[in-house]
């Protein structure tokens, strides 16, 4: 893939912002937040299963990238709000994401024996415990946001409620669950519209939610929130699409099914990648004048999602 400049006027991301360092330091903060949120206590079996699902450690495919929380914190910091306002929601995003993955890996779905190079939760703890671990991670996410978000100051209760509703929407029947449902329908027979719909629901919704939560917690106005939503959704789909392109061309990890490529064809897929990049950069451009260098993380995410300029797990292993 050929690198595309953000825009003629926007500064290049690499000039003054190191995404790898930013991301790596945030992963450490999110991991410690998650670790503290899930102490071992009775009944130990369920808490152990929940920790297994959320804190996968460095398996053979490396540590979790924690993209949703990083996007959430970046959106919040873009608006000049303290990181502490967004960190609990960032951790909650990982809990919700993990809950969905635990259920998605179940024998009645993908029957995935491993995730990130380690046994999936049902493989390690049994199917019944995996169902319950997912069921317990959803409410833990809300508990965590409520207990740890600095509220009512600087985050008013009404804003906290909007964040909670947004988190619940993203994993609900019109969000991620819809994507998982559509995915069940059988990817082989899908056309372009359906494939893009699956990607948007399964991955776009979660990324939109990350950016939207960061926006709300950072005190965004309606226009800013809407722009960050569009930006997040675009980034989420872009990231997955590039993953498929890379696995098809042998550059990335192999996915279980390359249905996107099968449905779209490589040329069309690359065309969509360019469209999504341009869209995401257009959204980021809206913030460039007002927020100056704070917009740099947004540009660099676009480049990273499209180019995968570095391997994040290396950065985690040797900070």
């Amino acid at each position: 893939l050929v690198s595309v400049r953000a825009s003629s006027t926007a500064p290049t991301a690499s000039a003054s912002f190191d995404l790898r360092r930013y991301w790596t330091s945030l992963i450490a903060e999110v991991e410690s937040e998650l670790d503290a949120a899930m102490p071992m206590r009775p009944p130990e079996s369920i808490h152990s299963a929940m920790r297994h699902a959320v804190l996968p450690g460095a398996g053979k495919e490396g540590a979790a990238k924690r993209a949703p929380p990083v996007l959430c914190v970046a959106a919040c910091e873009l608006l000049g709000a303290p990181r502490a306002a967004a960190l609990p929601a960032a951790a909650a995003l990982e809990m919700l994401h993990a809950a969905s993955l635990v259920h998605d890996d179940l024998p009645c779905f993908d029957a995935a024996p491993t995730r990130r190079g380690r046994p999936s939760t049902h493989a390690a703890y049994g199917t019944d415990m995996a169902v319950l671990a997912g069921d317990a991670l959803f409410p833990l996410a809300y508990t965590h946001v409520i207990a740890h978000t600095p509220s009512p100051d600087p985050v008013p209760h009404a804003v906290l409620l909007r964040v909670l509703a947004e988190l619940a929407r993203a994993v609900g029947s019109t969000g991620m669950a819809a994507g998982q449902f559509l995915d069940l329908a059988g990817a082989a027979a899908l056309g372009e519209a359906e494939v893009m719909q699956v990607l948007t629901k399964k991955f776009g919704e979660m990324a939109e939610c990350s950016a939207a939560c960061g926006a709300m917690l950072g005190g965004a106005g309606p226009d800013e929130e809407a722009a960050l939503r569009r930006y997040g959704r675009t980034i989420g789909v872009l990231y997955e699409l590039v993953d498929d392109v890379r696995s098809a061309s042998g550059n990335g990890k192999m996915r279980r099914n390359a249905s996107v490529l099968r449905a779209l064809g490589m040329d069309r897929a690359l065309g969509i990648v360019e469209e999504l990049k341009a869209q995401a950069k257009t959204e980021a451009d809206r913030f460039a004048d007002k927020y100056g260098d704070r917009v740099l993380p947004l540009y660099s995410f676009v480049d990273y999602a499209a180019e995968r300029g570095f391997e994040l797990q290396d950065a985690v292993a040797t900070p």
Partner: protein, 349 residues
Amino acid sequence: MAFHPLAASRVHLAPLLPCPAAPASAAHRRRFSAIVATAAASATTEFDFKAYMGERAAAVNRALDAAIPAGEPPAALHDAMRYALLAGGKRVRPALCLAACGVAGGREAWAMPPAAAVEMVHTMSLVHDDLPCMDDDDLRRGKPTCHVVYGEPIAVLAGDALLSLAFRHMACVDSYPPDVDPEKHPARVVRAIGELARCIGSEGLVAGQVVDLEMTGSTGNVPLERLEYIHLHKTAALLEASVVIGAIIGGGSDEQIERLRKYARSIGLLFQVVDDILDVTKSSEELGKTAGKDLASDKTTYPKLLGLDKSREFAEKLLCEAREQLAEFDKEKAAPLLHLANYIAYRQN
């Protein structure tokens, strides 16, 4: 969850609380009923419990129907959610939530979103509980279970979606009537959502399910304390949430909320003790679910540990404890909660 230890374990040691003691005889059930019928009549002569429950169930059903995104795809997922959620049922949890809001000084309509939320959570827990990897039940409320109709993966997703919808519906400002106090309402809702999440998570409802799972298959009887732990978490926790979030939304004081919490724990355990009793005394047809299942699966129950009569005595004691908590409230406003407690004690299915 830090439950105060209830006294099931002391049922054969300590005397019953100031309640008419029932002799362990064959006529026990009839006499037990007579006692309550008198008490109910003296509390509020005009209160029509059947009408109250009928109206609340209808209102809750309308709220549930309206809460599922209409016309939005995927239709089959929303169908599965509707199938599980609108299958009928007595709507005891929503009724508790609404009644608690009223007792705490609020308008019942304020608590309709949380009332719908607890029913969604309850339904979700049933859908997942019925899965082949869990209890493997084919029949629920007299109808085929969700996974039998829609398949396992959709049942898992429908449950997850109902759980999410519960929190989304409760958090959305648009779910509430316009006359809520604009100053105090958001903080109350945040607190109520925190209560609900805590009560159904790994230290509440799920904890009960986990310990229950770990007991299944173990030989010999489960100790009484362990049985109580399971029921306090698996059943009482969601009843506690229903009552407490209703009281919070209604603007109850901390003291009122804690009193109602104790009430809810007592009737929560009562609910399960009665369930155990019904399982051995009623047919599948009467129950709308498989009867005698506990016996067949060699599951530990109160009748098995204490015997049927002691179990009924314990139920009566729990009912008395619940009613004591209501004594401090306005009699008229507390009537629905009093009758709900009686109903839970004396239901026939």
